[in-house]
């Protein structure tokens, strides 16, 4: 049955075209907003040291030329919206946007990762074979594509929601209502509802409904009869998160617009029809386009290339397994963060740390502490202070730095304290471990002291 679904089930390409246009528009907004906030400079150019993803230490910023990457990404997004040289546009966007994300893992956000994944999928989808400038040039118009191409995007959204939901099934989230208790209490300044946000009941309501929403929303979106109301919930939920957590950025909009992929083909055709009339109105001024828009074409089915389906299957195989890689590590996931990223764990932790580094000459026994602000931006220092892989990488950077300054027999020790989800702070890194001798790998980091508490659940 699965085989016949893959080979025979067809769908109109309109949903994919709408998705392409929405995705391009959101990317365009995201990129411009990122630039306008000055973040290209503060996050990528200004820091003299970048925290690297394992295996991507070769990725560097290009100084002021980093802006050029964004220029190309912006042009590509416009190409994606218009469906103009789509393959090239989406490929460039995927490559360069992902590249900028790899410059510094301090800026890791789940929704940037989400964006990169979607862009990757779109590289292989015929999203510009319909309702696009590329399609205008062609003699044929596509009327059907394999269903799995649209369903693949739906599946990906379902995975994101579902995994984000089950990650909330833990004792901190459901029993302590943390970190929402801390976060909501501090939002007392929101007009009208701010005063209510100090009540425990609100914290619990928000925690539980957030978990239930994430776990179940995709099923209600999939089922036609509940789709409308489910979408209302999507709107309500994400607008609420934007009100409570303005710093969540573009995430709510990405999820709201993304969820339209679940709608009927009819809805998508309707949208495109409106866009089409708008297009005609605009193009009446440009005669040369008008003839192309109205010209008659032969109708065909789209046949995907052979390699696309295996790529999709591999992608989803990885997506389904990757979030569970934390089972391979001992200790508390929230504390050690081994297997935390790339797993759709969104807004689960309020974690604050304070980590200072002691440089020691192992021969003379002389020591001194490093002023982190000499090397890191405030944002980097904040992120570094509670993430073991950051701490290790920075310790190595410091060892190299002071070695180059002529110091000898260098050892690097830490004085590190972290508080998680309202617990009292406790020592985070074994202060007797010389981090300059520890090597980054996917192995368990034994020098992270265990959390003196237990969090139950997934």
């Amino acid at each position: 049955m699965f085989k016949s679904y893959l080979n025979e089930s067809k769908i109109h390409p309109a949903p994919l075209a709408v998705f392409r246009i929405l995705f391009g528009s959101l990317m365009l907004t995201t990129l411009i907003r990122f630039w306008a906030n000055g973040w290209i400079h503060t996050l990528y150019i200004e820091p003299e040291f970048h925290f690297k993803y394992y295996g991507f230490s070769w990725v560097t910023d290009f100084g002021n030329y980093t802006y050029l990457l964004y220029v190309i990404c912006i042009i590509s997004s416009i190409g994606i919206i218009l469906g103009y040289r789509y393959r090239l546009s989406i490929f460039l966007l995927f490559l360069l946007f992902t590249y900028t994300e790899l410059i510094d893992k301090t800026t890791y956000l789940n929704h940037y990762y989400f964006t990169s994944c979607i862009a990757l999928l779109l590289c292989f989808l015929p999203a510009a074979h319909y309702f696009s400038l590329d399609a205008l040039k062609k003699k044929k118009t596509i009327e059907a594509i394999p269903s799995w191409m649209v369903d693949g995007i739906k599946l990906f959204l379902c995975i994101v929601y579902f995994y984000a939901g089950i990650a909330k099934i833990n004792s901190d989230w459901l029993i302590e209502a943390q970190p929402l208790s801390i976060w909501l209490t501090s939002k007392y300044d929101i007009p009208l509802i701010g005063e209510l946000l100090k009540y425990k009941l609100i914290h619990y309501t928000a925690s539980w409904s957030g978990m239930l929403y994430d776990v179940f929303i995709s099923f209600f979106l999939l089922y036609p009869k509940t789709r409308k109301i489910a979408f209302l919930f999507v709107l309500l939920f994400h607008i609420m998160t934007k009100v409570f957590f303005p710093s969540i950025g573009m995430f709510p909009f990405i999820m709201i617009f993304g969820a339209t992929i679940f709608f009927d083909v009819k809805w998508h055709k309707n949208i495109l029809l409106h866009l089409h009339y708008l297009g005609i109105k605009l193009t009446q001024k440009f005669d040369f386009l008008k003839s192309k828009l109205t010209s008659k074409k032969s109708i065909t089915l789209f046949k995907p290339k052979k390699h696309v389906l295996p790529i999709f299957l591999t992608f989803f195989f990885i997506q389904l397994l990757l979030p569970f890689r934390y089972f391979a590590y001992p200790g508390e996931l929230f504390w050690n963060e081994q297997g935390y990223r790339f797993s759709w764990r969104v807004m689960l932790m309020e974690k604050k740390g304070y980590t200072t580094f002691k440089i020691k000459d192992s021969v003379s026994q002389k020591t001194f502490y490093v002023d982190n602000t000499d090397f890191l931006t405030p944002f980097q220092e904040r992120q570094m202070s509670f993430q073991p892989d950051f701490i290790l990488e920075y310790a190595h950077y410091l060892a190299d730095h002071f070695e180059n300054q002529g110091h000898q027999n260098i050892q690097v020790f830490t004085d590190s304290f972290v508080a998680l989800n309202g617990r009292p702070s406790q020592r985070f890194i074994d202060p007797s471990t010389d981090l300059s001798k520890e090597i980054e790998s996917f192995k368990h980091k034994k020098w992270v002291l265990p959390l003196e508490d237990e969090i139950y659940g997934l």
Binding site: I182, K187, L201, Y354, F368, Y369, A419, P424
Partner: protein, 385 residues
Amino acid sequence: MKKSIYFKLVILLLIFQGCSGDSDTIEIIEKTDQSNVSDNNSKSTAEFDRSSMLSFWADSIILPSIIGFENELNIFNENVANFTANPNANNLSLLREQWLTTYKKWQYVEMFDMGVAEEIFFKNRMNIFPANVERIERNIKNQKFNFDESANFAAQGFTALDYLLFGVEQEDDTILTKYSDSSLNYDDYLIQVTSKMLELTVLVKAQWEGDYRDSFVQSTDNNATSSINMMLNDFVYYFEKGYRANKFGIPAGVFSGGPLPNRVEAYHGEMYSKILSLEATTAIENFFNGIAYNDPETLGPSIKDYLDFVESGLAERLSERINEKLQGGRTKINELNTNFIKQIEDNNTSMLHTYDAIQSTVILFKVDMLQKLNVSVDYADADGD
């Protein structure tokens, strides 16, 4: 569609139902048995009025501290006039005494680094140490200098006074000789340093007496520029930098690999660094616990109360742990030699232990407290999810 409306109504009802129920139970106020705790403290579990905390800070701590400091500085200014007119041993000792009194009062002002104070680099110009002796001597010799230049920050304020009153010569006799000879201009420099300090203090005071006070009190939001966040950031920053690092860590050599006794506060006066640091400890404790500047019996809404409010329902309170740690630091300081230079030279280990005790409070402030109050320590601006 009808169904969805009903559904929403039900949810709304549930929420309101819940709120009223919750506030009923929360009305039960926890009785505290500490006798010195005022009404303000015991109320804290149910409601917390951020605006009245800000008013209390402005009206009962910040402005009175600045005025108290200004008053002593005025007296010092008079003493300077007396001393420069009659540079004798008696006037010198009166001047030094008043210098210490004023310096102690300064410890209550340094942490409020906001508004005008921040703009004019108040704390850097009043108390950056070590003094730049070379620069001071050059200024005195050349008679041409501009105190507003950042290069002259270490050539003015209390550290310059410390040098001028104790360090220009080894013996008091020879110091007096220097001030007796007006052509050497030491007297003139002393006058100028003092009047600059007064000028800056008046500027800062005027701000708090003016509109700034009202906008400070009204800004109760939770964002990077609101008063509570600014104040908490300043307070924590002062504790970490101005108090922990400057007074203890740097001279003890925590950041340099070897002790730097010449980096103690009031280096030339030698015996005052401990007195000053104890005074700063009191200023910190008072601010944290909401003790009025002019009357230690008057308690107002404070960071402590704010913490107790967000921790209502918890048995073990962070505010208590912070007060214990502050007390622990004070005990360590008390054990030190009055003369920090001597302490560092004779037994730097005690100095380092004192630093460690203070450091443990930094962690409670920066990690636990800022997490509980959800105040960001920096103005780093980026999305998060």
